[in-house]
């Protein structure tokens, strides 16, 4: 298990796609699983979703958005470099079944973890309508790949620089108004998931949200990733990362995302209440 980087592609100056060698994980992973990485001896353990995998080549694909030290350290690695530690697949895989029509919603870098789920739902015979959203055009990622596995794709940007102008919830409403949705999945910043979830709750559409809690070990050992779902404390890394969105205490989740809440709140407020 060399964890060698064999491809690196910039989606934007902050969002990068890596293809990494790890034969075991490439074979055992399922849609919805994630890995924990650590870069360098003094590095921190942090989670990233497995966006894709090729069991023949023995590779997995990761898409990372630079937000802080660890993601920046990963971004600084080049083809041929090795990731010091990489463990997985972690988390419960997405429950993929033939359900009818799936509404798949991804915000920002959340589109990366959404991709394998969209693919799996499509392959299971569902009709898949995807809504992908970001602040502006250059932050829309993986559009072509999402298109490949969707019957329809709606692109929303905050500033209208690409697709339609507006929030992801506007795109979702449009689809919900016009056709029956059997299940919805949302992945993105916590604040986006909160509002997306409120939207589908109005229409009683079963909804799963994939949470990006703070993690340390990713194996259920520490409880850093705890979240309240249906009034009970659950561990995102082993009980999730997907939970029934209508049962998640998003306000607690946002609070637990911690120190960077202030900065993110400013950005999200702009994004959602404008």
């Amino acid at each position: 298990m060399s964890n060698k980087i064999i491809e690196k592609e910039y989606f934007s100056d902050k969002v990068i796609r890596f293809v990494v060698e790890n034969q075991k994980i490439s074979r055992s992973r399922k849609a919805g699983n994630f890995v924990i990485l650590k870069i360098g001896e003094k590095g921190e353990r942090f989670p990233l979703t497995i966006a894709d995998a090729d069991p023949v080549k023995g590779t997995i694909t990761l898409v990372v958005q630079i937000v802080g030290v660890s993601s920046a350290k990963l971004a600084a690695l080049e083809i041929g470099d090795c990731i010091t530690d990489l463990v997985g697949p972690l988390g419960k895989p997405t429950d993929i079944e033939l359900k009818g029509t799936i509404l798949a919603c991804g915000g920002g870098v959340g589109v990366a973890p959404l991709l394998p789920i969209v693919e799996a739902f499509k392959k299971a015979g569902n009709r898949v309508v995807s809504v992908i959203a970001a602040r502006s055009k250059d932050l829309i990622i993986l559009e072509d790949q999402i298109r490949k596995w969707s019957d329809e794709v709606i692109v929303m940007t905050d500033d209208g620089s690409y697709g339609r102008q507006g929030l992801i919830t506007a795109g979702m409403e449009e689809v919900i108004q016009r056709e029956k949705i059997d299940e919805c999945i949302v992945i993105g910043p916590a604040i986006m998931m909160k509002f997306a979830s409120l939207t589908t709750k109005k229409y009683s559409i079963p909804t799963q949200a994939s949470l990006n809690s703070i993690m340390v070990d990713g194996t259920g050992m520490c409880g850093a990733c705890r979240v309240t779902v249906g009034g009970k404390t659950r561990f995102t890394c082993v009980d999730g990362p997907e939970f029934d969105a209508h049962e998640i205490d998003f306000d607690e989740m946002l609070m637990r995302l911690g120190g960077y809440r202030a900065e993110e709140a400013v950005a999200s407020n702009k994004y959602f209440q404008k």
Binding site: K38, G43, V87, G220, C222, T233
Partner: protein, 500 residues
Amino acid sequence: MSLDPEYLKSERSQEWRTALRSKIKNKERTAIQRVHMPEQAPEVRVKYQDREVNLGITAEMAALEASRCMDCVTPTCIEGCPVNINIPKFIKLIENGDILGAAATLKETNALPAVCGRVCPQEKQCESRCFYVEKMNLNSVAIGHLERFAADFERASGTSNIPKTAAPNGIKVATVGSGPAALSFAGDMVKYGYDVTVFEALHEIGGVLKYGIPEFRLPNSIVDFELDNLKKMGVKFETNFIVGRTASFDDLREEGYQAFFIGSGAGLPRFMDIAGENYNGILSSNEYLTRVNLMGANSDNSDTPVIKGKRVAVIGGGNTAMDSVRTALRLGADRAMIIYRRSEAEMPARIEEVKHAKEEGVEFMNLCNPLEYFADEKGMVNRMRLNRMGLGEPDASGRRRPVPIDGSEFELDVDLVIVAVGVSPNPLVPSCLPDLKITKWGTIVVEEEKMQSSIEEMFAGGDIVRGGATVILAMGDGRKAAENMHEYLQKKVSNPTKIN
């Protein structure tokens, strides 16, 4: 083996031991005072997370202490040792000046003597069964200090003897986890000639020895030294490998592994499920200790953050609670408090740890129980509400049940809360083996004599079987499992129709 009276007798009647016994009268031996472990002064040691509190005894102190031991005809101390170390033999070797011989004796039955000499609750084990305690009401021989001395001497001497291993038999076996149970299992199996691989989920080998027990009690370098010995003996280590996830048991069987030892530990933290417990600044002892011990969050060049609380409340009374509260002091707490719902008499922590904690200035708020937490506008804990407890009738554990006292509620300002109220077995392995029998608590059911589970090629031991115990019990399980897996595999090999 070493409890066999014939064997013990023959060892005891060796010429050098007979001679040593007659050198000093027992009366003189018993007149010697028990050695005191030299310690780093409390006001100095609370400044350093990475400096050992116990400094180790000197060669002179060790020789004198060893001479206290009377080399009893019936050494009851051995019965008190979960791995039955030949205690009088190693102590007499120290008295005789053959420290490396003493270390070799320890290693006959204990794969990690430098670890055990530091963390075993000897006062409840071998030392509680020493003749001095049982028959004379005196302080026991300092067996633990002597064990540590011999192991440290060997390590410092650079002439560490690698135990002999049998010729490789080509049979592959694996462990799930790399805590003390798995390590002692691996050490024995490699001695029998097996091809042993240790699979560990984390990026470091050692289980609780690395992520749990802090540097000031058990330096990682000591664990690493022991791991190095296992490597030299031929044990293979794979980190970042979660058995059942990274690869399934079937995948591993396909790769040729014929039997497994499950030593996956009891790593899941419990919380109390009270109001406000998910506020920021409230974390499990596992999270706190992992951030500091495994990730080095206390040092400036680590990317992993840790909250350096000023008013720290640690909930619980076990070793984990003591390790957490003492860590908090070392990370700069002004007030570091233990909040325990029973009284000191019921505390499960080692006596030495409680003593050290008190010397360092830890406040003990016994017979108190948290009820609720409060936070500031950012969700950061700043206050807690507790009530006082009284002790009622004994409960199932035999300890007196704590009962809340009406109207005793009070509040406390805190900025960090560490919850150390116990752990549960790791459910990962049982969840991927539907045929594996488990108890209602989630521990793996084994045939006690053999440590064999309901799946015949799977053995188990340590906290995943006991639900939370000690390093030495985990190691004892590993040894027992190795012995019985060896027997099981040899039968299978001599009856090859059973092998696919």
